[in-house]
């Protein structure tokens, strides 16, 4: 893969294209961008028909060992890798370790192993098993095995140091096996930067990982709920200073639009798109404005509309909430609420997604009240569409030098409810 940057803001955001993806190198991904989040190769709730109602799909599909490690035997017998197994054609496959939407229990990581939780329980992975899985999965690119169990409150300095050491050791071992594995020829590896919330450890991890022959970097242990955004920004800024400019940075576990934007400013290129799925699971629809029109009247009209929508809903500043990633944000409306039962507008006026073109809020409300499966399907379509549109707007704002405007829009929405200044 090759990162072609068209615009770099000093010590901060980058705009460009990640090219040469996939075995034949013909795929590319605009940056900043997101991957397509899947569970066992399926975008949640969606089959091929419903997935392809989305006009723009990320060219990179993310699958996690959390959802496929238990199928190792089948994959090995299948011999052609996970893409073939899952019927994924014409996409680049990225394999990560943990499912960002499913926080896993702590306390099971050792010096030599990490664990993932499948449907049947815990699966312990040594580097050998991890690499055997990669050989069976045959992704186009994967993250090396990492110990990121530093996100809980009060993680000791010693524990953080261990996570950095272990992760580096795992990376070295992975690379060794990688280069001796024929099936992984042409497959790219990302190193993982750890370090918890300790600046020195972050810098050390970044420096050391950058010395290894990796194609890019995952930034781990910074997920939503583990720390507030200002600390996250500080740490990412310090980390990216140690990383080569021409290699992509993928931030794990962060998906909220305001956090994404702040992390882009700090130098992150890629994100996982699990956030729209989380919104879907709580019966909510993303509705934040992507408009950065300087027209004050238009902006005011849009703002009024949204405030009416979001008024009366409980808001909490998600930054400081360590435990609950499932809490609703100010970027969404809750279709479970009674007031939508006779609201015949689409989820978002002007949204071109299948759900907004064909259905109304009242119908979505009905589906949620009656516990119908279609609710998840339609909300997933809309939320994914809106989220991808957000990234497109982000890139456009970067290109036009309007990132500040977009930022004010996003933060303004949050501020309107929390009444706090950032």
């Amino acid at each position: 893969m090759k990162l072609e940057l068209s615009r770099v803001v000093q010590g901060g955001s980058r705009l460009g294209v990640l090219k040469g993806l996939g075995r034949t190198g013909q795929h590319s991904l605009d940056v900043p961008g997101c991957l397509l989040y899947t569970r066992c190769g399926s975008a949640p709730h969606l089959t091929q028909d419903t997935l392809h109602t989305l006009s723009t799909l990320p060219s990179v599909t993310q699958v996690t060992l959390s959802t496929i490690a238990e199928h190792q035997e089948v994959l090995e017998e299948c011999k052609d890798g996970f893409k073939k197994f899952a019927g994924l054609h014409e996409t680049v496959l990225y394999c990560s370790l943990h499912d960002p939407a499913a926080p896993c229990p702590t306390g099971h990581t050792t010096n030599k192993t990490v664990s993932v939780w499948g449907s049947g329980g815990r699966i312990e992975l040594s580097v050998a098993k991890f690499m055997a899985l990669q050989r069976a999965v045959r992704p186009d690119w994967y993250q090396s095995m990492a110990d990121g169990e530093t996100w809980q409150e009060n993680t000791s300095r010693k524990r953080v140091r261990k996570s950095v050491d272990r992760t580096l050791a795992h990376l070295d071992e992975c690379l060794l096996v990688h280069h001796n594995t024929q099936e992984l020829e042409g497959v790219e590896v990302f190193g993982v930067v750890e370090g918890g919330d300790i600046l020195e450890e972050r810098v050390r991890s970044a420096r050391e990982t950058a010395k290894r022959p990796v194609s890019g970097f995952c930034l781990d242990g910074l997920q939503t709920g583990s720390m507030n955004q200002s600390l996250r920004t500080q740490l990412i800024t310090a980390v990216t200073q140690e990383l080569p400019e021409d290699k992509p940075r993928l931030l794990q576990g962060v998906g909220r639009p305001d956090e994404v934007l702040a992390c882009v400013e700090a130098g992150v290129d890629l994100f996982e798109s699990f956030f729209p799925f989380q919104v879907t699971e709580r019966g909510c629809a993303l509705c934040f404005s992507l408009d950065v029109s300087p027209d004050p009247e238009l902006a005011a009209v849009l703002r009024d509309d949204e405030e009416r929508d979001t008024a009366g809903e409980t808001q909490e500043n998600g930054d400081l909430n360590h435990s609950d990633q499932t809490q609703m944000t100010s970027f969404e409306i809750d279709l479970n609420e009674k007031r939508y039962h006779d609201d015949f507008r689409p989820l978002v006026e002007g949204c071109g997604c299948y759900c907004c073109r064909n259905h109304q809020r009242a119908y979505l409300h009905h589906l949620l009240v009656t516990n119908e499966l279609l609710a998840g399907v339609l909300l997933m379509i809309h939320n994914a569409a809106h989220y991808h549109a957000f990234f497109a707007a982000l890139r456009e704002a970067l290109a036009d030098g309007k990132l500040d405007l977009l930022k004010r829009r996003l933060l303004g929405e949050r501020r309107a409810e929390t009444g706090t200044k950032d």
């Binding site: 569970r39 066992c40 190769g41 399926s42 975008a43 949640p44 709730h45 969606l46 089959t47 091929q48 028909d49 419903t50 109602t53 959802t67 496929i68 238990e70 199928h71 035997e73 089948v74 017998e77 299948c78 197994f85 899952a86 019927g87 499948g118 449907s119 049947g120 039962h341 006779d342 015949f344 299948y354 064909n358 259905h359 109304q360 009242a362 119908y363 409300h365 009905h366 589906l367 009240v369 009656t370 119908e372 499966l373 279609l374 998840g376 399907v377 339609l378």
Partner: protein, 442 residues
């Protein structure tokens, strides 16, 4: 409406519609370049539209051996080829399948449920949403049942009187009366193309005077339903033949109900827990006495063998929750029975569910993948639902094709051979039923 090639899931089947007055009116006008709005405002066209009944049945072919027919059922939203299986979308949704997917499968008519929708979100809201069609955005036909069956099967403290069925709402505990008038009123609000009368539903395993009482009451309720229908020009009210498993009661009911000028008849009170030997006899008795120029709807029948046999006995329309419900449990329907995808034996099976099936699921995914996906995501259920609907619709399409081509008995024999490992495993009731219409199985 012209010849249209049926979409994926119905290979080699074509919908053909002949000489339809309504559509040829519209088609001619559109062809001569008349603006659509002018068309609707044109008084003579309005009159013509009002004079066209909301249901026309055209018999395209009759099987010379059995009592089977292949027909074109012209309804307000589109033509329906019969025999037809109607999937059930109880609460205004087909369980995880979008209306586009349902349309893509070739479905021309599906069911909505008056009891459920009458409770949530309620008829007033649905009316505001332009009827159930508008609410769920389904552009083809809808059939709603009366709510009677749910009354008896779902609701615990229901009491049946001459007035109607009294029950306590499971959502707010209020006492509600579902009368023939109320049921029709809700169905008028839903705006379905076919509405069912409220019948006095009695389980098929019940015997004695209650069965007779229910049969007579159903006739009286039919008349009340007919009177209560506000939209006879747009919505078709079907009668439901009752009488339990008693031939005399059935005949009496048939005799009375066929005197009423309704556009179609359903055969009700069966497909409960009754013996199949009794079941088929009541079905064939009913079709013997029902007028051939009106459609026959056998309610609650959906297993493949039941469908094929009952088509042979003269039924045109069927509905059942089974295919869509069983899909969510991982059970995929196939010509040789069913396949429980969640079972261990399929964990490494790289074949599609049915190698001959043309549905989106079978064209892309293997049993092994679906097996794995069931452990992770709801999409697995949707894949199987799509397949099962495709299976049912394709089956009906093949049945129809064989009737049109005059080889239905041959089709039946091949079908049975495929479904059962050997002739001694053919269900005896099916053998008897088919024999009664001159089809002998090996």
């Amino acid at each position: 409406m012209q010849n249209t090639t049926a979409p994926i899931g119905q290979t080699n089947c074509q919908l053909q519609v002949h000489d339809v007055t309504f559509s040829s009116n519209m088609a001619a006008a559109v062809q001569s370049g008349v603006n659509a709005e002018t068309l609707v405002n044109n008084m003579s066209v309005k009159k013509a539209l009002a004079a066209v009944p909301p249901l026309t049945l055209q018999i395209v072919a009759e099987c010379p051996v059995t009592k089977a027919r292949a027909c074109d059922l012209i309804l307000p939203h589109s033509a329906v080829s019969t025999p037809v299986f109607m999937p059930v979308g109880t609460q205004g949704t087909m369980k995880g399948i979008t209306v586009d997917q349902l349309e893509g499968l070739g479905c021309q008519i599906c069911l909505g449920n008056t009891y459920h929708l009458g409770m949530r979100p309620g008829p007033e809201l649905i009316e505001k949403a332009n009827g159930l069609h508008g609410f769920m955005n389904w552009k083809r036909n809808l059939l709603t049942d009366s709510g009677g069956f749910q009354m008896v099967s779902l609701v615990e403290l229901s009491e049946v009187t001459e007035e109607g069925v009294k029950f306590k709402s499971p959502y707010d505990g209020k006492e509600i009366l579902l009368s023939p008038e109320k049921s029709i009123s809700i169905q008028n609000s839903l705006g379905s193309d076919i509405m069912m009368q409220l019948d006095d539903v009695v389980s098929s395993t019940v015997t004695g005077p209650r069965v007779e009482e229910a049969m007579h009451r159903s006739i009286r309720w039919l008349d009340r339903c007919i009177t209560a229908n506000k939209n006879p020009h747009k919505q078709n009210l079907f009668a439901i033949i009752q009488g339990g498993l008693n031939a005399e009661l059935r005949k009496a009911c048939l005799h009375e109900m066929t005197k009423r000028n309704v556009p179609g008849f359903a055969i009700g009170g069966l497909s409960g827990g009754e013996e199949k030997d009794d079941f088929w006899r009541m079905v064939t008795l009913s079709t013997d006495y029902l007028p051939p120029e009106k459609p026959r709807y056998l309610m609650g029948v959906g297993y493949a063998v039941d469908l094929v046999v009952c088509v042979a006995l003269g039924c045109d329309m069927f509905d059942c929750v089974f295919p869509t419900r069983t899909a969510r449990f991982g059970s995929a329907l196939v010509p040789w029975g069913s396949l429980q995808v969640k079972q261990k034996q399929y964990a490494k099976d790289m074949q599609p569910i049915d190698p001959d099936c043309q549905c989106a699921t079978c064209k892309r995914h293997s049993r092994a993948y679906l097996h794995a996906l069931f452990k992770s995501d709801t999409a697995a259920m949707h894949h199987i639902t799509v397949h099962n609907i495709a299976y049912q619709l394709t089956l009906m399409c093949s049945v129809r094709q064989s009737i049109v081509e005059g080889r239905f008995p041959e089709f039946i024999r091949t079908f049975m051979k495929r479904l059962f490992p050997s002739p001694d495993q053919y269900p005896s009731w099916a053998v008897d039923a088919l024999a009664s219409v001159n089809v002998t199985l090996e």
